[in-house]
Amino acid sequence: MLTFSSPHTVGQNSVSKMMLTLLAALIPGFAALTYYFSWGYLINLMLACATVLVVEGALLALRKRPIGFFLRDGSALVTAALLACALPPLAPWWVTVLGAALAILFGKQLFGGLGQNPFNPAMVSYALLLVSLPVLMTTRWANVEQPSSLVTSLMVIFGDPGLALDGLTGATPLDYYKLNIGRLTASELTANPIFGPLGSVGWAQVNLAFLAGGLLLLVRRIITWHIPVALLGTLGVMALFFSADADVHVPLQLHLFSGSTMLAAFFIATDPVSAATSNRGKLYYAAGIGLLIYLIRTWGNYPDATAFAVLLMNFAAPLIDHYTRPRVYGQQKPIKGFKADD
């Protein structure tokens, strides 16, 4: 729509610029994942990107929307990249392709496309895969002691699934710790070379790399501090309080610097479309995610809990929005709830 309504000048920002910055901020984390674990991550990224472009294009065509205009905004690629970061790197190729297609179909386009989805598309897809393919989703993680090369990764992903040898794949350190802390002590467990000073070897570096990318997002004002701080803060406080005894529960450093924690805090929970709106609302929303991550990891059946925690808080976001409107200039108190007279 052409318009001459004020303002007559706009800034230089655009959706595609924001999405490109987001993709750029994912590079350090991606590099670390590839370097420490597997080229499977890069292969998955290619597969996911190709899939989302095809599926999004097809769905836009079905919905009679301008295809080029919406593909150029880059949002589908961000979904693909987040999914590629989150999926096990050595799962068969069709897992990634299926996941990417589900993310765009059920996570995004069925709700009306960009900006309309109540749930984080990458997490919708991850959760669907996790409940549908529990074994593939929990055993195809790369081993830090034996990072898989490009050729090996290609063979495992596209070849015979039987090639996924014992030494090549396994569970994540979070999973391993949780499964074994019942029969071993913390010191016995951490004698395993996959554990290190910041929790686990490899995963710690990956999390630090995602943290660095997240700081870039903060500096470039793609996100505000509220969600990462509240998420990590709540998770940290919960771990300090309940995981004080490392012989019983997964300890603090493993919670913060292992698995998808930093990815979740800076890149997934911060997805603005499905998050709470106001600054205060974001604090509650992210604190809820941090709390749920801890609860599910510690007392639930899933070793990493990001997808479920984020989706559950996505449900709660509209309600949070109703009770966290800021106080507007000149108002005595903010308008809360569903009635102006409250």
Binding site: M1, L2, T3, F4, S5, S6, P7, H8, T9, V10, G11, N13, S14, V15, K17, M18, F69, D73, S75, G113, L114, G115, Q116, R221, I222, T224, P272, V273, A275, T277, S278, N279, D321, R325, P326, R327, V328, Y329, G330, Q331, Q332, I335, F338, K339, A340
Partner: protein, 601 residues
């Protein structure tokens, strides 16, 4: 020596949000204000201020002097209009008006005689001795309105005797990009501004004159310092960081005094009256020199202007005349904006005149301020929320406005939006947010008006019903009392007349019997019609009814707007037909019975 007893620097607070667009002030603020040559014709719209339009006090053909009243304020919130130069009233008719709608507005056309001859002026160097009422009245007579943009009649601010005012806040922020009219005025006439401020301070009984100014105007700040020294007027200076929209009245109050004007309230609730620098300079000229508001400083700038700068312009000067003088290359110009790039509007017709609130004419090229690109969907990134100076949630308000959920819009305090455009400026999806908010505000206003008028209608109806009921009761009471009186009178009469009365009664009864018998005789059918005539009537009315029914079916497909009326007419004809048919049948039956009876008897 600087910062002497007359000047005090005060600390400032902050406002949430805000943006830093490119300023583009340097193009127009480096040369002095130049006076525009006298135009040949001036057009003075009667509704150029906020409030009720003024009423003309002159006729076509009248000769007027410069400064003479040509249209008088009507009502409390309104402003006088004066002849900006001497000449002849040439027309009083609707004329192009600078408004987005492009509608024409009643205006007075004044042909200049080139003499620029003032009416008799009566300067008051001793305004203090004239009394507060007289000075306020002089401001009103001078047609002074706010020159910052809204055009609110200035005298109204000084008539609120309830409020206790401690501070006269001078709005010198001028935060919109491109506009430098106030900046140049401050640099060149800071003394006039302070003289005006002294008058207003005295009117208000305010303790302090506080100047809120952005730190991008060091020359203006220096001019204020010098003028305060020279006039020995104590002032407080609040120098605020350059940020849009610091110059909004509410925002400036929050910035320099750390207080918020309550929702639905006025700055005077906080003991503050806020006045733009241009308005104060005009107050001085009006009160001391007796010059009404007939000219103002207007910035003409933008990449299509070859001599950007500030011009002293007579109110009523056609925009195209001013632009031509400033060397606007219309071939390069994309559009003409009245006001700044953030809150201004596109002038639909350049014949429209400069009015009292015209602080800037911005003539950008297409490259400079490109027309809006197609917008992406909102991704709720929240940049708008971080930019909003009044802490709204623009992304939520967009949702409400787009779906016309007015209740939800009000829950998000839509009406507190100041339409500054900061949200739209930062929006990565380039959504024309302000346009959506204006639309929703309009819808809310209309709905409220409808509710009010529906409520009025309800009250009116209920009052009428009550009145009718009351009248009914009164009528009934009267009737009963009349009946009682009549009965009493009759009783008295009967008692008095005794036997004679019964004879009369017998007579009456006989008469009534005769009348009744006659009635029965005539009632058997329509008076005097034979059986065949009755049949004809029935036949005719049936035809009429059939015809009407045909028309009705036709109308149902061809002319739906006629259906209701035709239905009514057809219904009436049907009734007529049925009753005439019934009459015929009754008569027929009567005749048959009669025929059957005849042989027997």
């Amino acid at each position: 020596m600087i910062g002497s007893q007359y000047i005090k620097l005060v600390d400032t607070g902050s406002i949430p949000g805000g943006i830093h667009p490119e300023q583009h002030k340097i193009e127009s603020n480096s040369s002095p204000i130049t006076t525009l040559p006298l135009p040949t014709t001036l057009w003075l719209p009667l509704a150029m201020h906020l409030g009720t339009p003024a009423e003309t006090t002159v006729q076509i053909g009248d000769r007027v002097l410069k400064g003479e009243l040509i249209a008088a304020a009507k009502g409390l919130v309104s402003a006088n209009i004066h002849a900006p130069t001497s000449g002849t009233i040439q027309a009083i008719e609707p004329h192009a008006f600078a408004h987005e709608s492009g509608f024409v507005q009643p205006a007075i056309a004044l042909d200049s005689d080139g003499l620029d001859q003032w009416r008799m002026l009566e300067p008051w160097s001793d305004w203090r001795s004239r009394g507060i009422e007289a000075v306020i009245e002089r401001i009103r007579l001078g047609g002074v309105t706010g020159l910052g943009g809204a055009g609110f009649p200035t005298d109204v601010k000084y008539r609120n005797s309830q409020a206790v005012i401690h501070t006269l806040l001078i709005n010198a922020a001028e935060c919109e990009p491109y506009i430098t009219a106030d900046d140049r005025l401050m640099r060149e006439r800071a003394d006039d501004i302070l003289r005006g401020a002294t008058i207003c301070q005295w009117l208000l009984g305010a303790k302090t004159i506080l100047i809120g100014i952005e730190d991008n105007k060091p020359e203006a700040i220096a001019a204020f310092r010098a003028a305060a020294e020279q006039l020995q007027v104590p002032i407080e200076l609040a120098i605020v960081p350059t940020k849009y929209p610091s110059g909004g009245e509410k925002q400036l109050i929050q910035l320099v005094l750390g207080a918020e004007v309550p929702q639905g309230g006025l700055p005077s609730d906080l003991g503050i009256v806020c006045q733009n620098v241009g308005t104060l300079a005009q107050v001085y000229r009006t009160v001391e020199l007796d010059e009404p508001l007939i000219s103002r400083v207007t910035t003409v700038t933008g990449a299509a202007v070859s001599q950007p700068g500030n011009y002293q312009v007579l109110i009523g000067t056609p925009i195209e005349v001013l632009l031509a003088h400033a060397g606007v290359q219309m071939a390069k110009a994309d559009r003409v904006i009245m006001g700044g790039p953030m809150m201004g509007f596109v002038v639909p017709d350049l014949l429209a005149p400069v009015v009292k609130s015209t602080n800037c004419l911005l003539v950008p090229t297409k490259k400079e301020l490109p027309p809006a690109l197609p917008d992406n969907p909102c991704i709720r990134c929240g940049l708008c929320e971080q930019a909003c100076p009044v802490s709204l949630l623009p992304q939520q308000m967009l949702w409400s406005a787009k779906n016309r959920q007015l209740d939800s819009a009000l829950l998000h305090s839509l009406n507190d939006c100041i339409e500054c455009g900061a949200c739209a400026y930062v929006c990565p999806s380039r959504i024309p947010l302000v346009q959506y908010y204006r639309y929703a505000k309009g819808e809310i206003r209309q709905e409220n008006e409808e509710n009010v008028s529906a409520e009025r209608a309800r009250v009116r109806f209920e009052n009428r019903q009550k009145r009718l009921d009351r009248e009914q009761v009164e009528k009934e009471a009267k009737r009963q009392s009349r009946a009682a009186a009549a009965a009493k009178a009759l009783a008295a009469k009967t008692a008095a007349e005794g036997k004679a009365g019964s004879e009369t009664n017998a007579l009456i009864a006989a008469t009534l019997e005769r009348v009744a018998a006659k009635k029965i005789a005539t009632n058997t059918g329509p008076v005097g019609l034979s059986l065949s005539e009755l049949a004809a009537v029935a036949q005719a009315s049936q035809e009429k009814f059939a015809k009407a029914a045909g028309r009705l079916t036709e109308a149902e497909t061809n002319a739906p707007e006629m259906v209701a009326a035709l239905k009514k007419a057809t219904g009436k004809l049907e009734e007529k037909y049925l009753s005439s048919e019934a009459a015929y049948q009754t008569a027929l039956a009567a005749v048959e019975i009669a025929a059957a009876d005849t042989p027997k008897s």
